[in-house]
Symmetry: C2
Subunit: 460 residues, 2 copies
């Protein structure tokens, strides 16, 4: 099943060929059994022939494919649609998908979409668009099954049969009172397994988790994943049910947030487009600011080195171990900061664990540092001194390097593990406190320690 990746280019060729030879019925037969997401990926290879292929598909599948396309492709398609075609596609879309599309389109396209949606949908779209980006409100749908406490199971099933086709999910139903306050929920399983004359109020689940419209979408997604729910109800400040967030959207949010975290940890300003679709200029803009900042902050290490120039002149061999020391410091810091940042974002660690984290990292770094120092001491005497016959590498020099190594690892791990926690505490994004930033700090500290040891142990 997963061999499809390889065949995709081949399949695209077949399709192009069928289009060129105008073999439309065959093309249709080829596409019909495929999943919407796969057809959408194929469209990436088809360029201007997309709208042709698109018109071959039955309306429902066409709409599903449309949702999966990139926003540029969607825009091109919309521009090629007649008003009737646009209305047909819009009628098939779920509300949350329409909102996603509207959010990405330029103003003139938005206007066209809104003017071809029915009045009720238009009202809902405008309401969802009001919620801030990244809020629960912005990713919810208002198409949920709404039941009343007093209904019997039979009534409820009838209600679902009547309204179900337009709902995003019927797997969980929501029970509201006459003021639209959410008072309970009910899975379709419970409903199906109940007796026909059971009353909804008696079988519904009254203990439930709900989120607020303004809650962060990442927190909502984490909740869905933590409790293994298929959907979470979204309520307004007066506890009235206004929508639901479904698990498929939650997965997308989790993936996007992870990509953002990873980008921040690599000193990239997060973007929201796939790697190959991001232009050179855009990529440059996302990468230069941090590179620039970190480059300029290296001025400090430069000043330190200039300050100790005479020591370096007196014992030139010390220079050759600086890359190793700063590399090991950087790597140690990265390990600690990455572990803590990930634990923070998984909710495994909080600010109040600061001292537990420090205590753990202290012990780990001592073990790591000593271990590295012993190996490095042996390596310096064996390789540099004995094998490469470098007379400058004396046991004293090795001692300076290895003592610095232990201190560098120690300080890198402590700085690396505490900075993200402190950042979180003062409301910064912990991921920004990741490796590159910490490396720069650790570099400076490590050089200061190095020269201190050199002065004391080598008397220079």
């Amino acid at each position: 099943m997963f061999e499809q990746e390889k065949d995709r280019a081949e399949l695209a060729e077949t399709i192009e060929d069928l289009v060129a030879r105008k073999r439309y019925p065959q093309l249709r037969d080829l596409l019909l059994p495929m999943e919407a997401a796969d057809i959408a990926q194929l469209c990436g290879y088809l360029d201007e022939k997309v709208s042709l292929v698109f018109r071959l598909l039955p309306k429902e599948l066409a709409a599903e494919v449309f949702v999966e396309l990139d926003s540029e492709e969607q825009e091109l398609l919309i521009q090629s649609f007649s008003n009737t075609e646009l209305k047909e596609v819009l009628d098939e879309l779920y509300l949350d998908d329409t909102v996603d599309i509207v959010e990405e389109m330029p103003a003139n396209v938005v206007k066209r979409i809104l003017s071809h949606s029915d009045p009720e949908t238009r009202k809902s779209i405008n309401e969802i668009l009001k919620y801030p980006e990244d809020s629960a409100g912005s990713i919810m749908t208002t198409e949920f099954v709404d039941l009343k406490e007093t209904m019997t199971v039979e009534d409820a099933l009838k209600h679902i049969r009547r309204t179900g086709p337009d709902k995003e999910t019927i797997n969980i139903c929501y029970i509201t009172d006459k003021n639209r306050h959410l008072i309970g929920l009910l899975s379709i399983r419970t409903l199906l397994l109940a007796e026909e004359d059971d009353v909804i109020g008696d079988i519904m689940e009254r203990n439930f988790i709900a989120v607020q419209t303004l809650d962060d979408q990442e927190a909502v997604a984490r909740s869905l994943s933590k409790y293994d729910f298929l959907a979470l109800p979204v309520v307004d400040t007066e506890a009235r049910l206004v929508g639901i967030v479904t698990v498929d959207d939650a997965i997308d949010v989790l993936q996007e947030e992870v990509t953002e975290d990873i980008e921040k940890m690599a000193a990239i300003l997060p973007g929201d487009r796939p790697y190959l679709k991001t232009g050179v200029f855009e990529t440059w803009k996302a990468r230069t600011p941090w590179l620039m900042l970190l480059m300029l902050s290296a001025t400090f290490t430069g000043i330190i080195l200039t300050y100790f120039e005479s020591s370096l002149m007196a014992c030139a061999i010390l220079t050759s171990f600086i890359p190793m020391l700063s590399g090991t410091g950087g790597n140690s810091g990265t390990q600690a900061s990455t572990a803590v940042i990930r634990a923070l974002s998984l909710g495994e660690v909080q600010f109040r664990d600061l001292f537990r984290v420090m205590w753990k990292e202290l012990r780990v770094s001592l073990c790591c540092g000593l271990c590295l120092a012993v190996v490095n001491f042996g390596k310096m005497l064996l390789v540099d001194c004995w094998l490469l016959h470098n007379p400058a590498v004396t046991p004293q020099v090795a001692l300076v390097v290895c003592a610095t190594l232990v201190c560098t690892v120690l300080c890198a791990k402590v700085v690396g593990s505490t900075l993200p926690l402190l950042a979180k505490r003062i409301g910064f994004d912990p991921a920004v406190m990741a490796s590159p930033f910490i490396t720069t700090i650790v570099d400076a500290i490590s050089l200061l320690i190095y020269f201190r040891f050199a002065v004391v142990l080598l008397g220079i």
Copy 2:
């Protein structure tokens, strides 16, 4: 709703207090409205009182809480259970959860669990345990709804009402022929919205995606997320339906794989326990190997520096820019490799895009490099030369540093973006080719370029 994090410690205190004062009915009332995942987190604060609290819960909730506990806590609880209690909990568990638990327990506990499961469950557990770790088979459940093509909707609903309580999900039903080959699937929505006398064979979906038992669990999870499915059927090599993977398990797999990728990118050997629950020794073991390897590989940069010692002596100021150059090289490489690794794992990039990726990174790195070089040239003349009155920083030296900067960024981005793709090609994990590894390579190349420029432009 998400203020709970803060209140958890407080809540744990209240519970401890209630336990101490033996106010069990109040304790029960406090716990009953809570979600299983939340009670499980509270158990972390309760230590040996867990089994007491556990016995207060109704059987079903108790089983749900049990599933959410850490494996150590599960083991302690099992050891405190009487045989009857163990059997009661096991009877409430879904099969895939039982398998997860069995996989983590020591042999004697596994034996006890198996001997208290009913024979059919025991057989299924043993079968699932046979599948390799990380395969679709190992995360599937065999508790799915199985329908026949010839059933009417009424028959099917009756069948679901009878067997539904023991199934992990009834939201998607699977249709098999008499040889247990999967021939179609049907959502509960389609079933509910159909007429009572419709025949399953007529309304079922015959185009579906299925995975094989030995498919990688990450690929399965990605598929679920790509197609927005709630479950995926798992078939054996003869296309017989053997189980299903549900979306909640897929989310867990995606999260675990991301954590693993992030750890590998930070030169940590991936583990599977939360940060604070991993012992110092275990953390040390996960972190030292890469630190050691990278430390030893820095020998090369050391050798390069020793080789050019006389040049450094002739122009000592060159030393002070080495940390800035290697830092910027490292950061540039990290940006490129991280972007490519993430794109690879999201399926946005494949090996055959190698030249597109290189071409893109070449242009991005030229822009970044030139931009940094110009700023750095200005900074060196303004700050180092003019403000800090360092006579050694001449325009020629600045030129050497800035020319090296451009080349370093160029080479870092190209190496950083291509190594993960090459790693993937030869079957290595691209994440291992991440920043620390690339930094070491780039460090060495950048020093060689630096000294080449110094020799040419400064004539040393």
